[in-house]
Amino acid sequence: MSDKLRLRFSKTGRAVYISHLDLMQTMQRAFSRAGCALKYSEGFNPHPLISIALPLSVGAASLCELMDFRLREEAELSELPARLTAALPEGVEVLEAYEAERKCAEIKWLEIEGRFEYDNCDPAAMAEKLREFFAQDSIVITKKTKRGMGESDIRPAIRSIGFEPTADAVSLKALISAQEPTLNPELLAESLRQLRPELAPDFAKFIRVETFDKDMNLFR
């Protein structure tokens, strides 16, 4: 058995406010509570060998988080999800544990869903306007980069995007670039705030649904 293992887990409900760094700490403690000792790095300041792919923004939910880890001793992988879930805070649920075959660097596309809330408008009319806006060939916004503020076209990072009205909001489904470049879904709402403020939602929230590679095969 390879010692490179991977967890797939969801982060929903109250747990969406746990930051990436705090989640690493929480995971580490959960392994310990579940009685599975994580393997530590060697050296002066040993730390557990865990890494969570594609850090999730605070407030965003996910059904497809991936975490790589190594164990000090072999464990029955099929039992791990139940054991870990029981040791995790409300809202974090381990779905699967398996040997990692591919590198997380191969993740290219993320399927996301979102909800744009408007306090005063007709969802159907708004959905139509949103479709038009995102149908443009380029959507250039100003955003913070490593070298201060810079211009960036987010359109190439959106493979597909669709909007549907619901009773009290507009729902969104999209495939966006997970890395190189990384598109923070929050920028979908931000682009409206910058370029078409009248279309900008009063509140937006997102959930990651699935991970894909560059050929749109499911990534595990």
Binding site: G13, R14, A15, Y17, I18, S19, D22, L23, Q25, T26, Q28, R29, A30, F31, S32, R33, G35, A37, Y40, P46, V58, G59, A87, L88, P89, E90, G91, D202, F203, K205
Partner: protein, 611 residues
């Protein structure tokens, strides 16, 4: 989750502290409990979740099946603003329900600077601040914690205070509240009945009369309330409930580790130390209990660190056995063990050396006074020789930074004592030059001073605090006496200490000033981000509260003190005797060498003090 909350949370710093949902939180079916208790900590989540007392009482209250006790903390400024804007009232973390719907708000008040936050949390719950303006039984507002040893400044706001340790007391009060709720008692009926429970202080059942000069003339209980309320304690700590499944925060808090309490009380009797008197008598846990509870808690939390709590860790007799027991479990699992509150003696250093995982960065000593004469006067039994011996071992062992803590303004302090602080720092520096193994890394000696606050129920309770000007004069004297480059000097500002002195030594009339500070925006006053001296001084002026009357005035020993209705066990005669010994620089032996019959032992029925 509340839709309004969902919109706010992404905008505030560290939103995880406002959501609940942590591992080991206690969720009950609210339709199946009879009492809902909002356990309010008047400070931030990070501070409150680090508080062992809060963790213990959360679990003891929840051990009653008819009670659901939930946690409530004060939101930081950004969240506070957002909640106000969105019209969201204060809510409990477990259920998200507004605290106004609860049957009881129970505050844990550990320090005076939290008073304005208590008022703020009442207001955020939609409740009137004053007990007189809350005529109905529910929600009842109670408070406990160290601040309850002088509850007077908060007396108009709190329905009942629970004095002393809450493990048994809290549940007795809740049992009575359950009956009161079932039978539809009036608030007055409940409070007069509650006042019969040992340890319960109901301020509205005491009339306070004042002399013309502003001092208290008399304290008169009514409706059968006891003349003196005796603090409650737990006798057998081994049998007392200890939460081995504490809540594990999902975000970083101040003390993010397993805390084990070795013993309560202190054998030392330092005359300035309130804690050393109000937590007596001495009751220790067995090392077997601590090892078992420590291991259980580690397993249930996944924490990587354990810390041992007490007022003076080196005075725990079975400390070596306890360390061995814990290390046997901790070492192979890379779990760290830390021991704060060690004394500057050789025994402590031996223990430190045993702990492989202790980082050799800094040592901290609370020296308190700058000369042997002054240390004898305050009964701080640390000699210069002890300190230098310990430093020598530390420097030889590779430590290279020492922090020395002092108080300025202690009774009998002279300018020579102040200069003595700088002299001692020089001695420590000399010691490093003589004994440090590796001098290339240099040495850092830090002196910190704070302004002494004479606290209720300590032998110095009658003493005057030095004025802000006098404190600063002594600070400057010390500054000019420090010549060595490797010695850094930090001093706490004196104004905070003055206000703390007024709040800790005040009577009921101080309440008006506290309320006015809150009305003018004061909350989270323990944080320099929010604290404003000017706001406090202005509120004192506007409410006719003279801070000097409370803080700077030496009180005659026969004056009625505002907190005289509270009995913490130690007799006043003992405090008087200790104070007299201060003036003759006479040491008192620690409790183990000779019991001074301070009076605290009379609180014990089943065991003897320090057995």
């Amino acid at each position: 989750m509340d839709k309004r909350l969902e919109r706010i949370l992404p905008r505030v710093q560290k939103p995880a502290r406002y959501t609940g949902g942590e591992y080991n939180q206690i969720i009950k079916d609210k339709s199946k409990v009879e009492l809902r208790v909002a356990f309010c900590f008047p400070d931030t989540y990070e501070i409150g979740m680090s508080n062992l007392g809060m963790s213990i009482l959360y679990h003891t209250m929840n051990s009653l099946d008819y009670v659901w006790c939930e946690r409530v903390f004060a939101p930081w400024g950004d969240m506070y603003e957002e909640m106000k804007k969105a019209g969201i009232p204060l809510y409990a973390l477990e259920s998200g329900d507004s605290t106004a719907e609860f049957d009881a708000l129970a505050f844990s008040i550990g320090y005076e600077m939290a008073y304005t936050t208590v008022l703020d949390m009442l207001d955020m719950s939609g409740l009137p601040l004053r007990t007189a303006d809350r005529p109905s039984l529910l929600p009842i507002v109670m408070a406990g914690g160290t601040a309850a040893v002088n509850a007077e400044p908060m007396a108009p706001f709190i329905d009942l205070f629970l004095v002393g340790e809450g493990e048994e007391l809290d549940n007795e009060v809740l049992a009575l509240l359950r009956i009161a709720k079932r039978e539809g008692w009036t608030k007055h009926e409940f409070l007069t009945r509650a006042a019969q429970i040992g340890g319960v202080y109901v301020p509205s059942l005491y009339d306070i009369a004042y002399h013309e000069d502003g001092t208290v003339a008399s304290i008169t209980p009514k409706d059968g309330a006891p003349a003196r309320v005796t603090k409650r304690i737990v006798e057998d700590l081994d049998a007392s409930p200890f939460p081995t499944k504490p809540i594990v925060p999902s975000t970083e808090v101040v003390h993010d580790r397993v805390s084990l309490e070795l013993f309560r009380g202190c054998v030392r009797g330092c005359r300035f130390c309130q804690a050393g008197y109000v937590y007596r008598p001495i009751r220790a846990k067995k090392p077997e209990t601590l090892v078992r509870q420590g291991i259980e808690t580690l397993k249930n939390t996944g924490y990587q660190d354990v810390t041992l709590l007490s007022l003076s860790t080196s005075d725990y007799r079975p400390l070596p056995a306890l360390c061995d027991g814990l290390l046997e479990y901790c070492e192979p699992r890379s779990i760290g063990l830390s021991l704060p509150s060690l004394r500057a003696d050789n025994f402590s250093m031996e223990i430190m050396e045993k702990l492989q995982k202790v980082r050799k960065s800094g040592l901290t000593f609370a020296v308190e006074g700058g000369s042997q004469r002054l240390r004898d006067a305050i009964n701080k039994n640390v000699t210069e020789e002890d300190l230098l011996n310990t430093c020598r071992i530390a420097f030889e062992g590779g430590w290279n930074s020492v922090k020395l803590y002092y108080m300025l303004g202690l009774p009998t302090e002279t300018d020579d004592d102040v200069r003595g602080i700088a002299e001692m720092a020089n001695q420590v520096l000399h010691c490093w030059r003589m004994y440090a193994k590796n001098k290339n890394r240099g040495v850092k000696i830090t002196i910190s001073t704070s302004c002494f606050i004479p606290k209720p129920h300590s032998p110095f309770q009658w003493e005057a605090q030095v004025s802000v000007e006098e404190y600063l004069r002594r600070v400057n004297l010390l500054r000019s006496s420090i010549t060595a480059k490797n010695v850094t000097y930090n001093w706490h500002d004196a104004e905070t200490s003055l206000i703390e002195a007024v709040l800790s030594r005040g009577d009921r009339r101080v309440a008006d000033a506290i309320e006015l500070v809150w009305r003018r925006g004061g909350r989270l006053d323990a944080w320099s981000d929010y604290f404003s001296v000017e706001r406090w001084m202005q509120a004192f002026a506007d409410t006719g509260v003279d801070p000097n009357f409370y803080a700077l005035r030496e009180r005659p020993v026969d004056e009625v003190l505002p907190w005289d209705m509270i009995d913490v066990g130690v007799r006043k005669a003992h405090l008087v005797k200790e104070r007299e010994k201060c003036y003759s620089s006479e040491l008192s032996p620690d409790c183990r060498h000779q019991c001074a019959a301070c009076g605290a032992a009379r609180l014990l029925k089943e065991i003897r003090c320090d057995e």
